[in-house]
């Protein structure tokens, strides 16, 4: 709530209404209380109100539930991250209250369930405390003994009141969510909501109203990164895939399993990740780019087959939703530690493409880009997403599906002759020919993992091995030359350049804004094409004294993270250093700024 500070409560009379351009609301409770649902309602409401929104949540790794938070940041202007400090903390339990009061900004409001929370006197002077017996009043409103059911919706009513939210739109959203045949379920939900909404918050605090969003007439869709990626693959024309369940990749697999049949396609659950990638490559070999994916250990299992697809030059899309590693690691936490395996995993020289989407919207478009690169260059493409982007909800401009959706059915038109690995092909780029295609000269191709001649037949020729390695490399160099140079956020020359990739784009940009606001000389770039890298980076780096690569992975044996290592190898430039961490949490804006300050001994200001 940058515009309005939460000043001392108006004494008596009607509470003051402040107009705000954004708000950060943190909901803390247990995962089984439906706190994700409150956040989801708020996010969708923002999307329908043409506001920007970003959410962030933590889920307990245990199956039976446990402490969990859902943070929503809603803004009438641009929202880059889910925010460092909350304006409002909604706390359901004592542990939620005590565990999250620190994430509330000084002067913020803590709205707590007074049936469960005993407020601490020492915190009363720093935060406005508003106690509402949420549990009890929910039971009063909807009756019954199911006292834990519905209190999330009651709390949503309180939040709606506090922020003067659009009630008809929220009622509609609630109606869309509770679609059970039993009308009493929806009626109960609406009763709880209205009870919360009409509960008097008293005169202790002011209430808020969002200023009108500047973005007029842009319909938005609201979804998380995994949904955006799944739908992106469908828009790209993917109709077949295979996978094995693992968090947080499973959502995409479940979405494709559910959705693809509507388009005449299917997604197969396999016995393991090796079978999954093999089946997907088989599908791709059949003539239409197919998809597989995984997280963590599942990615390790796929590497032998991935190398085959590189060698045999079969297009494929592999989704990697990164989580904390190595091994089973931190299944429900975020990390960006799969960059190395994505770019280099496997034996031998096996160049492949790696694209890392930067936000939820980008998950949609990256999926389409991945499919098209895979087809054009006959190469596997890895979509390197992560747990944070996969589970956070954002609103983005609705894509024009009629123009975006593509048909990538195989072309089975007979050809006169075909060399699958034609060495005379310009830039090494050859296309896979689907089985079922008649070849008039009667010479048919073999797709193979053995080093081969131009028809795919095995060879031990040292010359052919060098030539084929060069072919597989050259086509990616050709792709690299066609990639756009990343835009610089901030001036093109200065003291410090922050370099990011993947889900950290928002916090990094916000860190730049914050540092520049206090006079520091900081800019940033965000790299989407991880392998091959886009052209022009060296020029960009030349404009800065320090290049700091911000990533959620370990600093490594030599002191910089995984992308940092690649950039060092590429440019041999000692000014490239890293800002890394592995606490399993997304970067806070404050953290980036502080670490950058600590990293540059002379300070961030231009020398």
């Amino acid at each position: 709530m940058s515009d309005a500070t939460l000043t001392a409560p108006a004494s008596g009379g009607t509470p003051k209404v402040s107009r705000v351009s954004e708000a950060i609301i943190r909901i803390a409770g247990n995962s089984q209380d439906g706190i994700q649902a409150i956040g989801g309602f708020l996010a969708r409401l923002a999307g329908r109100s043409e506001q920007e929104v970003m959410t962030h949540m933590t889920i307990p790794a245990t199956i039976s539930g446990g402490p969990s938070i859902f943070q929503v940041r809603i803004g009438s202007g641009e929202v880059l991250s889910s925010g460092d400090e909350a304006d409002v903390l909604l706390a359901f339990y004592q542990h939620s209250y005590e565990g999250h009061i620190n994430s509330l900004k000084k002067g913020g409001i803590v709205l707590y369930d007074s049936d469960h929370v005993e407020p601490k006197p020492e915190w009363q002077k720093d935060y406005h405390h508003v106690g509402v017996p949420i549990s009890g009043l929910t039971v009063e409103a909807i009756g019954g003994t199911a006292k834990d059911k519905g209190k999330n919706i009651y709390a949503l009513g309180l939040v709606a009141k506090m922020f003067d939210l659009n009630i008809p739109k929220l009622e509609k959203l609630i109606g869309e969510r509770f679609t059970s045949k039993d009308p009493s379920i929806l009626n109960n939900a609406l009763a709880a909501f209205h009870a919360g909404y009409s509960h008097s918050l008293g005169s202790v605090i002011e209430t808020f109203a969002f200023v009108e969003s500047q973005k007029k007439g842009r319909p938005q869709v609201v979804m998380n990164g995994n949904e955006a990626m799944g739908y992106g693959l469908i828009a790209a024309g993917v109709r077949f895939g295979a996978g094995y369940p693992i968090t947080p990749w499973s959502d995409i697999m479940e979405l494709l399993r559910r959705e693809l049949p509507k388009y005449g396609g299917s997604f197969i659950q396999c016995e393991d990740e090796i079978a999954s990638i093999s089946m997907a490559i088989g599908g791709s070999y059949g003539g239409r780019v197919a998809v597989t994916g995984s997280s963590g250990p599942g990615i390790s299992l796929k590497t032998e087959a991935l190398g085959w697809a590189v060698m045999a030059e079969i297009p494929l899309v592999i989704v990697d939703i990164q989580r904390g590693g190595p091994s089973t690691g931190m299944p429900t936490n975020v990390e960006q530690s799969d960059l190395n395996i994505a770019c280099f995993g496997g034996h031998g020289d096996s160049p492949r493409v790696v694209i890392a989407p930067a936000d939820v919207e980008d998950c949609f478009y990256s999926a389409i880009e991945a499919v098209n690169i895979a087809r054009k260059y006959s190469v596997p493409v890895i979509l390197l997403s992560d747990q944070a982007i996969a589970t956070r909800i954002e609103a983005f401009a609705e894509p024009n599906l009629e123009t975006i959706c593509q048909d990538i059915s195989p072309d089975l038109t007979p050809v006169a002759s075909h060399k699958p690995y034609d060495l005379s092909a310009a830039d090494g780029v050859t296309q896979h020919l689907a089985p079922g295609t008649r070849i008039e000269d009667g010479v048919y191709p073999i797709a193979t993992g053995l080093e081969h001649d131009e028809y795919g037949h095995p060879t031990g020729s040292p010359k052919l091995h060098s030539q084929m390695n060069a072919k597989r490399r050259k086509k990616l160099q050709t792709l690299a030359a066609s990639l756009p140079t990343p835009n610089i956020y901030g001036p093109a020359e200065g003291n410090v350049l922050l370099v990011g990739w993947g889900s950290t784009q928002g916090p990094i940009k916000e860190a730049v804004d914050r540092a520049r606001a206090t006079g520091d000389s900081v800019s940033s770039i965000h790299i989407r094409h991880i392998n091959p890298l886009p052209p022009g980076l060296e020029n960009i780096f030349a404009g800065f004294n320090h290049v700091l690569v911000v990533e959620m992975n370990d600093e490594g044996l030599y002191g910089y993270g995984q992308l940092g290592g690649v950039l060092r190898a590429c440019f041999g430039d000692k000014k490239i250093r890293g800002i890394t961490k592995t606490d399993g949490l997304t970067f806070k804006v404050k953290e980036i700024v502080e670490k950058a300050r600590a990293n540059v001994a002379t300070g961030l200001r231009k020398l």
């Binding site: 869309e176 949904e227 388009y263 005449g264 299917s266 490559i281 959706c405 059915s409 089975l412 797709a447």
Partner: protein
Amino acid sequence: MSSSLTDIPVRGGNITAVPANSPLERKGLTKKEIAADHPTWCPGCGDFSVLALYFKLIEKRKLWHEKITTVAGIGCSSRFPYFVQAHGVHYIHGRALPFASGISLSRPDLHLFVFGGDGDAFSIGGNHFTHTARKNIKMTYVVMDNWVYGLTKKQTSPTSPLGFKSKTDIGGATDQPINPMKQAIAAGATFVARTTHSNPNHVLQMMEAAMDHDGFSFIECLSECVEFYEGAFDASNPRKGGVFNTVPADHDVTDELAAYKLSGEAFPGKFGIFYKATRATKNANEAKVVAAAREKTASLKDWEILQKSFDRLK
């Protein structure tokens, strides 16, 4: 082509544009047309005869060049696709079945044959064998069982008999060997047959029956490795003083227990179809899921289907 392939509702984009395949329209391919590289196998290797009979099958059943897809893993036997002049895949060790499944489930218009060795099938690929069988994915799988690792030069294989002296068991193998027939029946394969390279007519018979089966059809074909396990199958070869006994005429191929019993007979045992069942294929089950979903979407363009999903995400 087997009728079952055309029975599978074709789905997805212009795969439907593939013309219905009539075997009568063209004459069968000659051996010259279907043979590619000269096989690199050792002279006398049993795999030669399996290849020759595959050619015969293609010729006899008038399969179209471009519609044959041959897939293999890694091993001597798995070199197979290089020797066949048709679309082919030489994949990685042990994973030919899931690869072929990807083709089978997305390209119902192709004849799909998978060839491989005993190590490929029952050691590194053991789990895939089980799951492809239980899912009953339409394809024919011929395991050229030589009871040894040929390509890597004489290590113990999962089908090596007890006492077999190999480079990894110099004192003789001690691990209980896998019985491929039992394995296939227990896993839920719907066509399970046994043959041997030394009886060409029988091999062809089994291949034809397997190809005509709508489902996962498995053939264990004994195929002698003359280099590392010479004489392994002499007891099944009348020309070497052995006996070749076919499955008794009164054997009920739908009787799982009887099939299991047949599988347990001491070598050389019986040859022929041990087990054959009718069970919905994965291909058909998936087609059903698609047909149910398409009832609501068939009249829409793809982007309109996606638009409906997006409309719910507002």
